[in-house]
């Protein structure tokens, strides 16, 4: 369970690819309960991540996280931009401390998301993926099944944060777009073998 410049780089590049591949799906999810821009927002951010990571050699994981945070903050916009941007900022801070295990770093990311967005579990946001994922990480049992189960769990929730909250009960029955993009975040983390 170690983050290195190499595996972090590989992880985040494949996270970016996943976002680009699934742009339309994220758009569709956001059209159903939001304003239809989550796919484009994240794809824009993903392109920026790739540009930054491919054009530069990084000497530390912290620098990678910082660069990704800035990339997302300056290109995504919407609600997702500051939330993912804050997550990577929090992760960058944590990774420079003694407690730089993957679970501690990701947990710091979650804390920043919650500080920024004030969402708690059950409000049908990305937090509903991050919270169980962090818990699973800590218990050493993060799996794809667990991730996508958490994503799917947002389907039956009623949104009380973000744009989907305007729908009230009508938000029930749709998977949350930000939860889904966070699903890719954790899925590519798993695939990157960082946790092995």
């Amino acid at each position: 369970m170690m983050l290195t410049v190499e595996n972090t780089n590989a992880w985040l590049l494949s996270f970016a690819d996943k976002l680009i591949e699934n742009k339309e799906y994220l758009t569709d999810l956001d059209t159903a309960i939001g304003d239809g821009d989550h796919g484009n927002n994240m794809a824009r951010g993903a392109k920026m991540i790739k540009d930054k990571l491919n054009s530069q050699d990084f000497s530390s994981v912290q620098d990678i996280f910082k660069a990704v945070a800035m990339a997302l903050l300056s290109s995504v916009g919407g609600a997702a931009g500051p939330l993912y941007g804050s997550a990577f900022m929090g992760m960058a801070k944590q990774v420079a401390t003694d407690d730089n295990s993957v679970d501690a770093v990701i947990k710091a990311g979650l804390e920043s998301v919650q500080k920024r967005g004030k969402a708690v579990p059950g409000e049908k946001t990305m937090v509903d993926v991050w919270v169980p994922a962090v818990k699973a990480l800590e218990e050493g049992k993060l799996s794809k099944d667990a991730i996508w189960e958490a994503v799917k769990s947002t389907k039956d929730m009623k949104a009380t944060k973000g744009r989907a909250s305007y729908l009230g009960d009508r938000s029930i029955g749709h998977i949350d777009p930000g939860a889904t993009s966070s699903g890719y975040f954790f899925e590519t983390l798993l695939d990157s073998n960082i946790l092995d």
Partner: protein, 330 residues
């Protein structure tokens, strides 16, 4: 999707180019950003910065200029702008007297503008904010992101713009802003949806004979969908909603603003205004200010919103009527 555009991915960039070319006498675009700022900012006055996603034209860039905004930050279509760009706008707007951010209440807008505030504070720029939440279609509870900011925002720009020009301090303008916002309520109706170019299909669907009350300016759902009604019936519905909020009494002084959502011609807006005026006259309200315009649009959405502002202070009327030099305000 039937639009006069080029590549959907280029809409934001090309629109900003067209806009800054057209209004080069009044405003300038900051580099490659979405920041449109006043060419001639009054020295020593408080700066006003607003913005949000694009697709609401002429909001917000059309209201940049003498007597209104110092700068507008234009995000991608229906997407809040990023904090770094808002920060650039703040720096442009700051003339030493501080900057007020006028934010429409959307999770994304609030977070991005707040991050920019944090950046500005780190550079010792005085920044304050007001959050406009005039859309009464949404329940104002802990179960929602709160009420949305819609057409009433433009009246906030206008009133605060006049106050800034008159030399108010940052604290005074913020206090005035909060008071004004408390007195502005809006509710809308859509009869056909908008299509975000990069998405390529409408944000929602309405049958040929349907309309939706309370729709948001990004196509967020409203509070009721039904068969299309006459202008008079729509006016009655919207006024009755507003009355529940504003609890007016005979003789109260009000401003009325009928805002088109982009695809609705002035013909319909004037007819609707006539119906509103008849209903409100019966209620005994006094109209100190009247406006019909498509100022806070939702791309080509057809429909309109009705904004009422309780004119608590007669100064506000003066501020609303003060001439300005902007691309869009008449």
């Amino acid at each position: 999707m039937k639009k006069i555009i080029n590549n959907p991915a280029d809409v934001w960039e090309e629109m900003l180019r067209g806009l800054s070319f057209t209004h080069s006498d009044l405003v300038e675009r900051l580099g490659e950003t979405g920041v449109i700022y006043r060419k001639y900012e009054g020295k020593g006055k408080v700066g006003l910065v607003s913005g949000g996603g694009s697709g609401h034209e002429p909001s917000h860039a059309g209201f940049v200029g003498k007597g209104m905004l110092s700068a507008a930050v234009c995000g991608e279509v229906f997407t809040s702008p990023t904090p770094d760009q808002v920060f650039e706008a703040i720096k442009k707007a700051d003339q030493g007297a501080g900057v007020l951010l006028i934010i429409k209440n959307y999770t994304g807008d609030v977070m991005n503008f707040e991050m920019a505030m944090e950046m500005a504070e780190m550079e010792d720029i005085k920044v304050e904010k007001v959050i406009v939440n005039d859309d009464i279609a949404v329940e104002d509870s802990t179960y929602t992101a709160g009420r949305r900011g819609v057409a009433g925002t433009v009246l906030v720009h206008k009133i605060l713009g006049a106050a800034a020009e008159a030399g108010f301090s940052l604290e005074e303008i913020k206090a005035l802003g909060e008071k004004v916002i408390d007195n502005i309520k809006t509710v809308g109706v859509a009869i056909s949806p908008a299509t975000v170019p990069a998405v390529g299909k409408p944000g929602f669907e309405l049958a040929d004979d349907e309309m939706e009350y309370g729709i948001g300016i990004h196509g967020e759902p409203g509070y009721r969908r039904e068969k299309i009604k006459s202008s008079k019936e729509i006016a009655e519905e919207l006024v009755s909603r507003l009355k529940e909020e504003l609890n007016w009494k005979k003789g109260d002084r009000y401003g009325v603003f009928v805002n088109g959502l982009g695809g609705t011609p002035l013909m319909e807006l004037y007819i609707f205004m006539n119906d509103v005026q008849e209903i409100l006259s019966k209620e005994g309200l006094v109209f100190d200010y009247k406006k019909v315009a498509s100022y806070m649009t939702s791309i080509e959405m057809a429909g309109l919103s009705l904004t009422l502002i309780k004119l608590e202070d007669e100064k506000w009327v003066e501020y609303l009527n003060q001439p300005v030099e902007t691309a869009a305000w008449v």
